[in-house]
Structure formats: structure tokens, C-alpha cells
């Protein structure tokens, strides 16, 4: 074997082959990691329409039973909007299986539903990670409104994300 070839093999072993072995090790050790529960997708809301209509900001939701909550997740953080009113946007955080989020209604919705300025819908819910499709159980309330009664709701994920992959 020539000197050039021997050097090449040595360099190739240290700079390519060994790192590839390292990669295999990283992939193996990464399998034990856990990522936050997936809540990404569309969630069909179910709540008592009468109680929802009585809640400031809840009227539009009560009048549109097909409204879905659209969640776009990035790790523990997520943004949310309403399927029939994309201008109503909010954000939240996932803590284990508990979701906490606030949703600022769009101007049109706010006027229509009598939200008043500075008020937002607040959402606290628990995810059932074992349910298929995944479901949420929680309460909707309005911030800066101590007299408003929280409304219980349930939601079922309509479009689970398409991802999955090798183990």
C-alpha cells in the first residue's frame, strides 16, 4: 500500500468512519428522550352553547358549532387560531399534559360578541395522550372578568399530524 493511500485511509477512518459510528451512538441514546405531547392539528370544540353564549367573547363560538381550534406546535409552545376566523390568534404553552393559552378575538368577532377592549379568551385544558384520536378536556374563561363563569369544553383532534418515522 502506498504512503498516500495509507494516509488517506487513516484520515478517512478518523474523520469519516469514526464520526459515523458516533452518529449511530447518538441515534441510539436519543431514543430514550421524550418530547412534549403532540397537540398540533385541528380540534373540534364541544361545549354547552347556552353557557358559551352567556360568556363575553363566547357568542361567536356558540353560534358556529363547526368552529375548530387550529394549533400549530413548536415544542412546548404553540400558536392557536380559529378555523373560521384566522384573524383571531393566540399563543400558549404546554406543561406536561396541561395546555394554557389565551386567544385574542379579531376586531370583527370582538365587536359582534361584545368582548370589550383588552379582553381575551383564556383556555386551560388537559390532553388525554392515550386517547385515539387525542382529546382535550378543559375550561374556557374570559380574563379581566371576575363575574364571568368559566365554561367547560371538550375537544377532539380532527387531523392528527402526518408525521411518524423510524424508531
Amino acid at each position: 500500500m502506498s504512503h498516500t493511500n495509507r494516509n488517506f485511509i487513516l484520515a478517512y477512518t478518523f474523520l469519516v468512519a469514526l464520526p459515523v459510528l458516533g452518529l449511530v451512538g447518538i441515534l441510539k441514546s436519543g431514543r430514550s428522550l421524550t418530547a412534549p405531547i403532540s397537540v398540533d392539528g385541528m380540534w373540534q370544540l364541544q361545549a354547552d352553547a347556552v353557557r358559551l353564549a352567556a360568556l363575553p367573547c363566547g357568542k361567536t363560538l356558540a353560534e358556529n358549532p363547526d368552529t375548530a381550534l387550529v394549533i400549530s406546535q413548536s415544542g412546548k409552545n404553540f400558536t392557536l387560531s380559529l378555523s373560521n376566523d384566522p384573524k383571531s390568534t393566540g399563543s400558549g404553552e404546554l406543561d406536561g399534559t396541561t395546555l394554557r393559552a389565551s386567544l385574542a378575538p379579531s376586531a370583527a368577532w370582538s365587536d359582534d360578541a361584545g368582548c370589550g377592549t383588552g379582553r381575551e379568551l383564556s383556555l386551560v385544558a388537559k390532553v388525554d395522550p392515550k386517547a385515539d384520536p387525542r382529546s382535550l378536556v378543559g375550561v374556557l374563561s374570559v380574563n379581566h372578568c371576575p363575574e364571568c363563569r368559566a365554561v367547560e369544553f371538550q375537544a377532539v383532534r380532527q387531523s392528527p399530524p402526518v408525521r411518524k418515522g423510524p424508531h
Binding site: 478517512y12 474523520l15 408525521r163 411518524k164
Partner: protein
């Protein structure tokens, strides 16, 4: 039916903004494509949607984005064909060990570092619908890619295309791209197969059969195109249309097999005859409309999906900084080390590392696929877009710093006896080319 008025308005605004920003970037010594990528971000929620949400909602309503996406994807299909067309496997053979080691290290170093970073980012920026393996492999392939077309553009602008630096960079980038796309293909196949319920082995078997047909059947058919060109000095409209049909057919096949449209287009380009004049002729026919009209749509569409606002707070910006750092250390550092070991002077090797660190448009194409198959989250997508912009932006000034003209001149007059012993790794042909 698309709202034709809205679609034409979108095209007009996108083209105008891309041309203006591209020209501004040219003035500061950056390739136009970097400006156009930046223009896409400006048109998205990161700037226009943030400053003027009403105008943004009017110009790019959610319902209209499907048509814009379809047009932009056609542009990327043709672009990937052109990228494949520009890749010549013989270039790699010319440089022997130098290019093989440089290209392989420039893949493995960022790949392994990215997988290592994935250990930290997976619990923070992903969720349990993505497996760690998919996440880490995707991060690796996204960080190890090199923007072959941007790299070629920088080399042409610096007059370095025929230098040793230029030829090794082109050869290594070609290997990087082919390897990166193969790994990405693996991830896409596994992800899509898991979702569709189709057997993974059926998909892999289909892809192998498709590749064999392309290499041993279609390639010979394509050789006839080259002979027709040699006889007449041009290709008839019918032959050009046939070529386009083959590109689209190949793209459809890979999509149908559960891969992605872009792999078929890339493969068709890769197996095309590589005679220089023929390649130039085909590039000239397709390049103008693709680069001036269709790619800006892709930049705009990518910009519309990029929301820098999702990268909020010190913690998220720290993740973003880590991504840029790891991508740069892996790619620039790895390529520099390998090329230095194969005989280049440190400055020239650092120049090569800088060129290899250029990710540009290829990165955006890969990230778009990652977001489509949901292997990466929207916030991570935005961070990776920032990384693509930063690494591409830094290429021109860093190259000028590492390799000013006097260094390249010295390099071209350098005598082999001055080289250190470890340079026995360098291919003799590489030295002949630089002489």
C-alpha cells in the same frame, strides 16, 4: 378556481420586491439569490404581516396560497433538474482522494454535530409525533447540504471556477448534494410509508427499480438528445418538449412511489449527458424563466411560511444561535480540516470551507420538505431559515478575507516541494489543475 387578479397581483409584487432587494444585495457584493431569499422573508409574516397585517391579509389570503405554492413547486422541480444537470460525477474522479475526503468530511462533520444538537433540541422544539431518529437525521441532512448553484455563482464572480479551490469545491458540493438528498429520501420514504400504511419495502423496491430504469434505460435515450444537438447545434421544439416531459414524468414517478417530486427531477438532471456545450444549451433554455419568474415565487412562499416572530425570547434565540454555530463549525470547520489535510494551504482550505458552508436555496428546498412532512416544527423551520440566510450571507465576505486575490495568486505559483509531508494525501491531478 384561482382569483386571477389576486394571483397576478401576487406575482407582480413578488417579482418587483425580489428584483429590488436582489439588486440591493448585489451592490453590497452578495449574490442576487441571497437578496431574493431575504425578499421572501420580508413579504411574509416576519415583516409585512407584522407591520401591515391588513395589507398582508389582502395580498396573501390563506385561500390563495395553494395556487402560489403549486406555481412555486413547478419552479423548484425545474430548478432541481438544472441542479442535477450541473452535477458531473467525472469532476470527483479528477480530484481523487482530495475531493472524496473533503466531501465526505463536509457531510459527516455537520451531520454528526447536528445529530448531537438534536439531543438538546428534540425535547425542546419537537413533539412526540416525531421520532428522535427522524428528527436527528433530518437535522443532519439539512445542515450538511451545500448550495451547489450559489457556490458556482460565487466562484464565477471571483473568477475561481477553474482554480483548484473552485474545482474541488464544485466536486465536493456535488457529492454533498447527492448524499444529502439520498438521506433525505430515506427520511421521506420512512415518514410517508408510516403514514400511508404502504409497505416500506414496496417503496424502497419501487425506487430501486425506478433508479435502474433511469440509469440503464432512460440515460441511453437521453444520449440521443445529445447526438441530435451535436448534429444540428440545437434541439428542436419537439425534443425540448420531450425533455421537459421526461423531467415531469420522472418527478411524478418518485412522487407516486412515495418519495417526492423533486427527487425525480433531480435524478433526471443527474443522468443527463454532461457534454459541456449541451449542458450550457439546456441550461440557457430553462434557466431564465426558472430563475427570474418561478424561483422568486418559491422564495416568497417560503417567506410566507417563515415567522421569525415564533423565535421569541432569549431562550429561542439561543437555540437559533446554537443552530447557526453548529452548522458553521461542522461545515466550515470540517471542510477546512479535511482540505488542509489533503494538501491545501490553511487560507485556501478555509476558503473552501467557507464555500461549502453556503446553503442558500438548497437548504430552503429541504426545509420546505421537512415542514411539509412535519418532521420540524414551524419555530425550528424559522430558525433553520435564519441559519440558511446567515451561512449564505457570510460566504462572500469570508471568502474575500480568507482568500484575497494575492493568496490565490501565490497558490497558483506554489511549488510542490514546499508542501508539508501530510500533503501526500493530495491528488497529483489537483495540483496540475491549479498550475
Amino acid at each position: 378556481m384561482p382569483d386571477l387578479f389576486k394571483l397576478v397581483l401576487q406575482l407582480t409584487v413578488i417579482l418587483a420586491v425580489c428584483r429590488v432587494v436582489g439588486s440591493l444585495f448585489r451592490r453590497i457584493g452578495q449574490p442576487r439569490v441571497v437578496g431574493e431569499m431575504f425578499a421572501g422573508i420580508l413579504l411574509g409574516p416576519s415583516l409585512l404581516g407584522w407591520l401591515a397585517p391588513g395589507a398582508s391579509a389582502y395580498l396573501f389570503p390563506a385561500t390563495s396560497l395553494g395556487f402560489l405554492n403549486a406555481l412555486s413547486q413547478i419552479g423548484v422541480v425545474v430548478f432541481m433538474f438544472l441542479v442535477g444537470l450541473g452535477i458531473n460525477p467525472k469532476e470527483l474522479k479528477k480530484h481523487g482522494h482530495a475531493a472524496v475526503l473533503t466531501s465526505h468530511v463536509s457531510i459527516t462533520a455537520p451531520f454528526v454535530l447536528a445529530a448531537f444538537l438534536a439531543l438538546y433540541l428534540y425535547p425542546r422544539l419537537s413533539d412526540d409525533s416525531v421520532t428522535f431518529t427522524s428528527f436527528a437525521l433530518f437535522m443532519g441532512s439539512a445542515m450538511s447540504v451545500t448550495a451547489f448553484p450559489v457556490l458556482a455563482r460565487i466562484l464565477i464572480e471571483r473568477g475561481l471556477l477553474q482554480s483548484r479551490l473552485g474545482t474541488v469545491a464544485i466536486a465536493s458540493a456535488a457529492v454533498d448534494d447527492v448524499t444529502g438528498w439520498c438521506i433525505l429520501a430515506y427520511i421521506v420514504v420512512l415518514t410517508r410509508a408510516a403514514h400511508s400504511g404502504r409497505s416500506i419495502w414496496m417503496t424502497i423496491g419501487g425506487i430501486v427499480v425506478f433508479a435502474l430504469i433511469m440509469i440503464y434505460g432512460v440515460r441511453h435515450l437521453l444520449a440521443r438528445l445529445e447526438s441530435a444537438y451535436r448534429k444540428r447545434g440545437e434541439l428542436s421544439e419537439n425534443l425540448m418538449a420531450s425533455m421537459l416531459l421526461l423531467v415531469l414524468g420522472s418527478a411524478l414517478c418518485t412522487e407516486w412511489l412515495g418519495l417526492h417530486l423533486l427527487f425525480g427531477a433531480f435524478m433526471m438532471g443527474a443522468i443527463m449527458p454532461k457534454e459541456q456545450k449541451f449542458v450550457r444549451y439546456v441550461l440557457d433554455r430553462f434557466e431564465t424563466i426558472t430563475v427570474t419568474l418561478l424561483l422568486p415565487l418559491f422564495f416568497a412562499f417560503t417567506g410566507l411560511r417563515t415567522n421569525i416572530g415564533l423565535v421569541k425570547g432569549a431562550e429561542m434565540w439561543r437555540y437559533c444561535g446554537l443552530i447557526v454555530l453548529i452548522a458553521t463549525v461542522g461545515k466550515l470547520g470540517g471542510s477546512t480540516l479535511a482540505s488542509w489535510l489533503t494538501g491545501m494551504r490553511l487560507r485556501e482550505a478555509a476558503g473552501l470551507g467557507t464555500l461549502m458552508n453556503t446553503r442558500g436555496l438548497m437548504e430552503l428546498v429541504i426545509l420546505d420538505i421537512g415542514l411539509d412532512i412535519k418532521v420540524i416544527s414551524p419555530a425550528l423551520f424559522s430558525m433553520m431559515v435564519v441559519m440558511a440566510l446567515v451561512t449564505t450571507f457570510m460566504a462572500t465576505p469570508l471568502l474575500g478575507w480568507f482568500c484575497p486575490d494575492r493568496v490565490l495568486l501565490e497558490e497558483s505559483h506554489r511549488i510542490p516541494s514546499q508542501e508539508p509531508a501530510i500533503r501526500t494525501l493530495a491528488s497529483p491531478s489537483a495540483d496540475r489543475i491549479s498550475a
